[in-house]
Symmetry: C2
Subunit: 374 residues, 2 copies
């Protein structure tokens, strides 16, 4: 990696799956790693010291949302995201490309960039590749993402439209690299290409040749079937430089993570653990549990037997059900804590399995116990 | 005190102010003490282990709200509030008298009890003194409160109406004592009497003679002036048994607490620290701070210099302002944590001052630094 203070070292392999250490100026991340989503610089209701204890290694925030509020200059004057938020470990910021280019009705996209009406104050904003880099350099995350054009509802997107977006994303990638000023921030390119494996392959080969510090896989998880997604991820992975981190953007369920890890993906982010938690959907090793259900009214058991999280060690399903029913903020917090711990623990198990060459068995067991496709 | 497992021992005096130890089956409370409000069995967004670390000794919940959801039988089957909620220390439950009798338009009050339409499901409910005792015995708090008739907007209440409510509260108090079944739960009577010192005195004398384990002062903080309230509290205190705990219900601001402590009050509860926190109003020793204000946009200082709370040790005014502006749940949580710690620390200082016979100076300094009336 070219950015100063960074290194990426693959420490174990099991088939295409791999475990690595990403060294950043704010700490070392063991991969495969899951990044909790802190859209506005905080994981909903969860404090940084709790995230540390749960096993979080890196948080993801959103440059577009932070640009709107409080503004990147406020964050910069506070010394960047690390000192502004109280999470001093590694940060990654997304450019906001997904948010602004997928708001199709509100956005106008041309070669220069994206013009859109802010849902916050109704004013028009223009986001260009250069501006996305500038905003993220001010926010000061360890890893920044380029502005990409994400074609929404990829399943039915004609290849022509997907090809145009992929090619524009590539031109924007080159502009992003030229706009770069900071040497202590990693910049990741993004692979697009809709639902075409051929386009994904072209995008990965061309993006990979530009010299980014790592690569994101964008525009996935938008409705395509699991088997198709597997093919698209595999096509991109074969073309991407082996010695750089790979990040599947915005996905997903535990089975989605295991599928991508089997293909060599290193990083993930998703709102599922926290959002599902707020809605009372708890992940357990034997499947999901809808804790608002009447059947748990008198259930004194913890959400998941054998779980080491603070929620499972102190609270019952009956109490969580009650808190969610009366809209008590502590309920959303305790369920989010459990789900985050479920994800972190799953990835701890995955890393151990890759080291022990048992990742295939872990994945098969997980699929069996959840009754889902692997 | 008559309830089994309880003792109340006054350990220091400074004028009328006093510091005591209340022994309960679930722990010892040093008074004067502040009880955070956990309406539905949780302090909004704050976990029991955090409350312990902040210095909470006893929590207050509301029998009326818990009766509605999840129902006292659910709590009883879970082993009572202590095991249902994860807060294993002392609990006090209010009967709900204030909530149902002050909902004047929705409630019909007669000698039997209060009939009201539930704001939750629109159905009619009847709450009697006996039922209030039964519900609270099932909830299993360490301290239960009798059902009282609270006349709303006391300032303009004619004495006749205040007298009738006070006398009914007294008859209900006798019925509550007869309805009592548990021997391991303390039961407190409640002094009423509107804005008349003579009525307050009569109520305190008669209630105090009934043999309750302690006494609440109800129907205050409803708009009366501070000097009037001082007179009303003093009148009641002179008539109440000296050797039983005294609890000023629902009040209030720091200066309200200091005023009542000077008159010999031992217990307090109020939503102010948490509710003000959620609205961005922070208590500090040099006055309140509205952290949403634009002037704090770039302020890297903690909410209060020298504060030992988790919020002040890790977060800036600028970050709290941002979190509150984007309605991030962590913001309400961090501000509530600071305000609760402010209250607990103030009462720690008060107890030390009573022991050292410097309470008068503490109160005068607090008034000076806040520029308010003592």
């Amino acid at each position: 990696m070219k950015a100063r203070g960074f290194a990426f070292e693959i420490t174990a392999r099991d088939g295409l799956a791999r475990s690595a250490r990403l060294v950043t100026p704010h700490g070392v991340i063991e991969t495969p790693a899951f990044m909790p989503v802190a859209t506005f610089g905080a994981v909903r209701g969860i404090a940084p010291d709790e995230l540390e204890r749960l096993g979080a290694q890196i948080l993801l925030s959103n440059a577009y949302h932070l640009h709107e509020r409080p503004g990147e200059d406020v964050v910069a004057r506070a010394g960047g995201l690390h000192s502004f938020t109280g999470w001093g470990g590694p940060w990654l910021t997304d450019s906001g490309g997904f948010q602004v280019t997928s708001l199709a009705a509100r956005a106008g996209i041309d070669e220069e960039g994206v013009t859109f009406r802010s849902p916050h104050d109704g004013r028009c904003r223009t986001l260009t590749p250069e501006r996305a880099v500038e905003v993220q350099e001010k926010l000061g995350a360890d890893v920044a993402m380029v502005l990409d054009e994400c074609v929404s509802d990829d399943v039915v997107t004609p290849t022509l439209r997907a090809r145009a977006a992929m090619e524009r994303t590539l031109r924007w990638a080159e502009r992003s690299l030229r706009a770069r000023r900071r040497v202590d921030q990693a910049l990741f390119g993004i692979v697009q290409g809709g639902c075409s494996a051929a386009l994904r392959r072209m995008s990965a080969r061309a993006t990979g040749a530009l010299g980014f510090d790592g690569h994101g896989l964008g525009g996935l998880g938008l409705g395509e079937e699991s088997a198709r997604r597997e093919e698209l991820i595999a096509a991109a992975q074969e073309e991407l430089p082996e010695n750089r981190p790979r990040y599947l953007m915005g996905l997903g369920r535990p089975t989605d993570l295991l599928q991508a890890i089997a293909l060599g993906v290193d990083f993930f982010d998703c709102v599922i653990p926290t959002r599902n938690g707020r809605h009372g959907l708890l992940f357990t090793r034997s499947g999901t549990l809808g804790v608002r259900n009447a059947r748990y009214r008198d259930d004194p058991s913890p959400p998941e037997e054998g779980c080491d999280c603070p929620t499972c060690s102190r609270y019952s399903r009956a109490y969580l059900r009650h808190l969610l029913h009366v809209n008590e903020a502590l309920g959303a917090r305790l369920t989010s804590v459990h789900n985050l711990r479920f994800y972190f623990r799953m990835l701890e198990d995955v890393r151990a399995a890759i080291r022990g060459h048992t990742f295939g068995a872990l994945r098969a067991n997980a699929a069996d116990s959840r009754g889902g496709t692997p």
